[in-house]
């Protein structure tokens, strides 16, 4: 649980994000996206605050937050490793790349390492299909990956 000051700060930032969209209910997804971009995950207090301020039932906020892939309710690690599993990457061996990352980090897809250094996620297409298999770490793309290149890539972080 963050300190009282920490909570107040979170509270203020969430309020600012909601204000940016004039608490428009149609922008719920965008608001949650911005909150997630700020804190790297959707914490319970933030969802409650969104519900209270915008007059959207918490159940609806929760259903949106759990329906869409972009959202996570669990804290993420320092580096976000995204493995593309799109068709083009798949036929070029993306699953072997994913398995090697899972072995190297000792986590399964969707999990975070114990030291909170890496979170491993998969995505169904990043639109870099010509370069597949593609791995994205913190927004930087690495194309033409194979299982053999995984360890040296991860060692850079």
């Amino acid at each position: 649980m963050p300190s009282l000051r920490g909570r107040q700060l979170v509270n203020k930032k969430v309020a600012a994000i909601i204000n940016k969209y004039d608490a428009d209910k149609g922008q719920l997804i965008s608001i949650l996206q911005d909150i997630q971009a700020e804190f790297h995950y959707l914490r319970k207090e933030a969802l409650t605050q969104v519900s209270d301020t915008m007059g959207v039932p918490l159940s609806q906020v929760y259903s949106v937050a759990t329906f869409f892939k972009a959202f996570t309710l669990k804290p993420r690690g320092k580096h976000l490793v995204n493995v593309c599993l799109g068709t083009a990457c798949h036929v070029r061996g993306a699953s072997k790349v994913l398995e090697q990352i899972e072995r190297s980090l000792n986590v399964s897809r969707g999990e975070t390492t114990n030291d909170f250094k890496f979170t491993l996620e998969t995505v169904n297409c990043m639109g870099c299909c010509a370069l597949g298999p593609v791995v994205k770490i913190d927004g930087e793309y690495f194309g033409q990956m194979n299982a053999g290149k995984v360890d040296s890539l991860l060692a850079r972080y």
């Binding site: 428009d24 209910k25 149609g26 922008q27 719920l28 997804i29 965008s30 949650l32 996206q33 959207v56 609806q60 259903s63 949106v64 329906f67 869409f68 892939k69 972009a70 959202f71 599993l85 799109g86 068709t87 083009a88 798949h90 036929v91 070029r92 061996g93 072997k96 398995e99 090697q100 072995r103 995505v123 169904n124 297409c125 990043m126 639109g127 870099c128 299909c129 010509a130 370069l131 597949g132 593609v134 927004g139 793309y141 690495f142 194309g143 194979n146 299982a147 053999g148 290149k149």
Partner: protein, 619 residues
Amino acid sequence: MLQKLKSKQDLENLRKKIVAKKEEGKPLVTVCNGTGCHASGSVAVIEAFRQEIRREELTDKVAIKATGCHGFCERGPIVVIQPGDIFYQQVKVDNVPQIVGETIIQGNVIDRLLYVDPATGKKYVHPSEVPFYRSQRRIVFGNNGEIAPDNIEDYIALGGYSALAKVLFDKSPEQVIEEVKKSGLRGRGGGGFPAGRKWESCRNAPGEPKYVIANCDEGDPGVYANRSLLEGNPHSVLEGLLIAAYAIGSHEGYIYVRNEYPLAVENATIAIKQAEESGFLGKNILGSGFDFIVHINRGGGAFVCGESTALMASLEGRVGEPRAKYVHTAEKGLWDKPSNLNNVETLANVPLIINKGADWFTAIGTEGSKGTKIFSLVGKVNNTGLVEVPMGMTLREVIYDIGGGIKEGKRFKGVQTGGPSGGVIPESMLDMPVDFDELTKAGSMMGSGGMIVMDEDTCMVDTARYFLTFLEEESCGKCVPCREGIKRMRQILDDITEGKGEESDIELLERIAATLKDTSLCALGATAANPVLTTLHYFRDEYEAHIKDKRCPAGVCKALIRYYIIDEKCVGCRLCEKACPVEAITFMGKKKPVILDQSKCIKCGICKDVCKLEAVGVK
């Protein structure tokens, strides 16, 4: 702050001014900065050009432009130099001083950076000669390479927004709809529904306000044409949306973009701001009295949100679940008001049709499918990237003439079109002309234009399983046939790929597939069985090999394959021994082949990846 244009004449004057400025003939360095080239390091290359040009004190004499996607993503970063139209590929930061010194200052071509056709060994200087581009017809996509997406002037210089001015001042909404109907333009997002008819039913639907929506939720894995369009030429999409709005009588619109496309979101946001400042959006557009505003909404990463009712639910801030379409969205869509949804590629075609006329458009393509289509040609093909071809070109021409054939001289097996709702088309049908109707006849579909090429190393059972795994995750879970049927089919395919398949499985798959088709609530479920049905139809022997012989002919399904060392090729370099995560490989001394212990091997394939001598085989 841009100049606000208040009339058609203002726009014409501005265009003349921009063109006159451009004709001064400064050398121009164009660097592709689409997501593909971005991933290959284009940002560093652009920065290197800026620095080098500054160092050579040429800042005022040479222009640099970071453009949208040129399509040939495999060869990125791509650089085109004017004058001379010189095409350099796979440009690295280290090449930049040489390009500035030799090409820009002295006008010489650097041989080493040119594209070499792997088939013939021939080198090409100009992009138009490169086989990848030569057979394309880039009417929608071609301007990407000329335009800096964050600069509205580039778009205006090429005639941008003149189609908007034309409809606002010279055409009634009915005339616009008539023109689009006459052009035969069909929806590029999946179903291929005629755009003009869609507009007409939305215009005629009772209720105000009406909404227009551009769909850039390109969720098909392996497809990125929409992204490159919105990212590289956002104003063409905006102009199409504006014309649709005028025709329908709408004053508010949305662009729905996948959140996985950050650059597209950024460029579209800039474009909207510039269009507002210039007077193409807002109140009294170009002094015509027509008002229109547009919002950007980012998707949350759900494939089903490409479906119109699910997309609209998501725009309302709800979970993206589709509803049954007894009442069409043209009548009751977003907030229960008449709403029109078009794919971004469809919209980008609209300004062209208005400017050049329906007759020009219908001259391209086939009887039932007019115009061009952008395909994302990816997978096991030599030249991967985005290609725009006239409807009706054969698969063979696309894959061999433009795509340069199959990688590493392997044998072609099939091409998957239409994403997870489509199917795999076999070698025997390579001469099929590609259009909406032919693809549907073959059991596949156009979808949003994916063309994923598969070779002898691709397992068709695994491919079908891959799509079902995808669809199982993406099914919203609202209707039972889709939620349970896809899961059950995936389980059966899991069994088959693990060597636990039974002969009755094929029939069971076909029965579930038929149920899904008949009873699912939306197209996601209704088409979900297509990848299974087409692979069963065209590649039944592969299913049988898995089930009866417990063998994966392509060497993909882990439970049915094993890796082995090809002793004649192995020199004992120890690369694989070091890489093996489970110490299954034993070094036997220099120049002696290593030994792979099958009992320890987990079939991760790393040994094969790291081996430089191709001494690891799989069977």
